[in-house]
């Protein structure tokens, strides 16, 4: 079985983002970029499934600027076999990305697509579900455990009240949560090897996908700032302040 893992290049999670002065977005020039952390977990899971003999080939795909090639190389260094970049400088929104990935999936026929549950830049949490819808596939979202047996996947989902176990008919789209695994460190020999792995570049037009944005971003602004309060010396003073100043407890 082939597995497809879509990955996104995002502002690194350690970077404190700044809103652009003109209110059109956040500053991404000269900012460290990395693979979306959830996508890294998805790549790691694919590699583990291959090591376990469940998966025969891992294809990673990214949609966006030429610089995404760097992120794809990282995924190849983790252990993916080959990469596809759908190159576009358009504002690619989740529905457009899901359609591009559908076109890729129709070419590649994967039995499983593993997504990160959300990208940490736009925090949309949509693409995996949209892809499943467009393909008419089953979906398992926010997954912390995956077991694949024949034409069935059993997944454990992290839901608000606890955990949920769902059986999915294959092929399936699965979006992964943090606790699924801990991605391995990329070693230098594997980085060298990744440079020689195949990376194909496609264009949205060639895939016949209209990627026009459906949402217009009118403005991006700083959230209201919270002011730091006071330090209190001891629990007694704290309880007094909570009762008589903040009036938040009785």
């Amino acid at each position: 079985m082939k597995v497809l893992v879509p990955i996104k290049r995002v502002v690194d999670y350690n970077v404190k983002v700044r809103v652009k002065a003109d209110g059109t977005g956040v500053e991404t020039a000269n900012v460290k970029m990395s693979m979306n952390p959830f996508d890294e977990i998805a790549v790691e899971e694919a590699v583990r499934l291959k090591e376990a003999g469940v998966v025969t080939e891992i294809i990673v795909a990214s949609c966006g600027l030429p610089a995404c090639q760097e992120t794809l190389r990282t995924a190849l260094a983790i252990g993916a076999d080959r990469a596809i970049l759908v190159e576009s400088d358009a504002d690619l929104q989740p529905l457009a990305v899901a359609k591009l990935l559908r076109a890729v999936a129709q070419k590649e026929n994967p039995g499983l697509v593993l997504f990160g549950k959300q990208a940490i830049d736009d925090d949309c949490n949509q693409t995996g579900q949209m892809f499943a819808a467009l393909m008419g596939w089953s979906q398992g979202t926010f997954v912390s455990k995956v077991k694949i047996e024949g034409d069935k996947a059993t997944v454990t989902r992290e839901v608000d009240g606890g955990l949920e176990t769902v059986a999915l008919k294959m092929p399936a789209a699965i979006t992964v949560d943090l606790r699924l695994n801990e991605p391995r460190y990329v070693t230098l020999p594997n980085i060298m090897k990744a440079k020689k792995k195949p990376l194909e570049v496609l264009k949205p037009d060639a895939l016949g996908v209209d990627v026009s944005p459906r949402l217009a971003t009118l403005k991006v602004e700083e959230p209201p700032k919270r002011k730091a309060g006071v330090k209190v010396p001891d629990p007694k003073t704290l309880v007094d302040k909570l009762r008589n100043e903040a009036k938040v407890i009785q």
Partner: protein, 310 residues
């Protein structure tokens, strides 16, 4: 304009998050219908009918809606979408699972986790873990939206008398089936709707040590939460996680114990009315958002705090 809101429920009662989504619907304006799709869900439907401001409660009762899995539920909603200008659901794990599927099937965008309504087609949503707010306008005929519950006051639970109508259930597509649920049992209030939340971080040192927070939570009738660091360390289950990748909370009082205050965590709690931080590192970023901070050893301070609360 007319709005379809997807109710979150357990077949017996309507979850508070539904009433937050109805709060957003009221701000958009127009007729509001509430869909209760479940299995043996007539009690939930009755409860839904009592919510003021609802025109009709639409009930789809069939075994395959019992688990509210995305495949069947999205197909049902898509079949009902015609005639609605908006489809809303709370941004819970159920809403986030179902709504993008609905949107893609309708070939429209989905707007995630709105915190404000500017006009019927324009909404504000946090991006980058709440470090920026984006105002977005939807150009689609049907707006599919998830609502961050902390952004909107819940409408009341009773006082209304909406008509209850049955809608025909769609077929079970057989794509997925629910095998089981392990729902954490607790006498405490729900994390997302609690008035007071007590959370622990990596500084707690172990899951065992969360006992001292339980004593504090008991005094304040609080829900217990945790930072991602505490969850990753295996101290407590993931459904306790507060933050960008966990739950978003905005209680009246949030007490952060042994939590340094990573951006990730702040994203989930900085809209709380009053924030208290207990940390041994006086430089910890949590103090930059805390109204009241105590620097010191939490293992000493928390028991003292419990004693002071009487």
């Amino acid at each position: 304009m007319s709005i379809l809101v997807i109710a979150e429920h357990d077949n017996q009662t309507i979850k508070t998050a539904t009433r937050n989504a109805l709060g957003a619907a009221a701000q958009i304006g127009g007729d509001v219908d509430l869909l209760v799709a479940g299995s043996g869900c007539s009690a939930a439907a009755q409860a839904a009918a009592a919510i003021p401001g609802v025109r009709k409660v639409l009930v789809a009762d069939a075994p395959h809606y019992g688990g509210q899995l995305a495949e069947s539920l999205a197909a049902l909603v898509v079949g009902m979408a015609k005639g609605y200008s908006h489809i809303l659901a709370p941004a819970t794990t159920t809403g986030k699972n179902v709504m993008p599927r609905v949107a893609a099937l309708l070939d429209v965008a989905q707007v995630s986790e709105i915190i404000a309504v500017k006009s019927p087609d324009t909404f504000v949503r946090p991006i980058y873990a709440g470090n920026a707010f984006a105002t977005v306008q939807s150009k689609d005929a049907i707006k599919v939206v998830t609502v961050r519950t902390t952004g909107f006051d819940a409408v009341p639970a009773s006082g209304g008398s909406a008509a209850v109508e049955s809608v025909a259930a769609g077929p079970d597509g057989g794509l997925s089936s629910l095998l089981g649920r392990e729902i954490s049992k607790s006498d405490r209030p729900e994390l997302v709707s609690a008035r007071v939340v007590v959370s622990g971080g990596r500084g707690m040192g172990s899951g065992e040590n969360f006992k001292i927070l339980e004593a504090l939570a008991d005094k304040l009738n609080a829900a217990l939460g945790a930072s991602r660091a505490a969850v990753d360390a295996g101290f407590v289950p993931n459904d306790w996680q507060v933050g960008q990748t966990g739950k978003i909370v905005a209680p009246e009082l949030y007490i952060a114990v042994g939590i340094s205050g990573a951006i990730q965590h702040l994203a989930g709690m900085k809209d709380s009315r009053v924030i208290v931080a207990v940390n041994k590192d006086e430089e910890a970023p949590i103090f930059q958002v805390a109204d009241y901070g105590i620097v010191g050893d939490l293992f000493q301070i928390v028991p003292e705090l419990v004693k002071e609360l009487g």
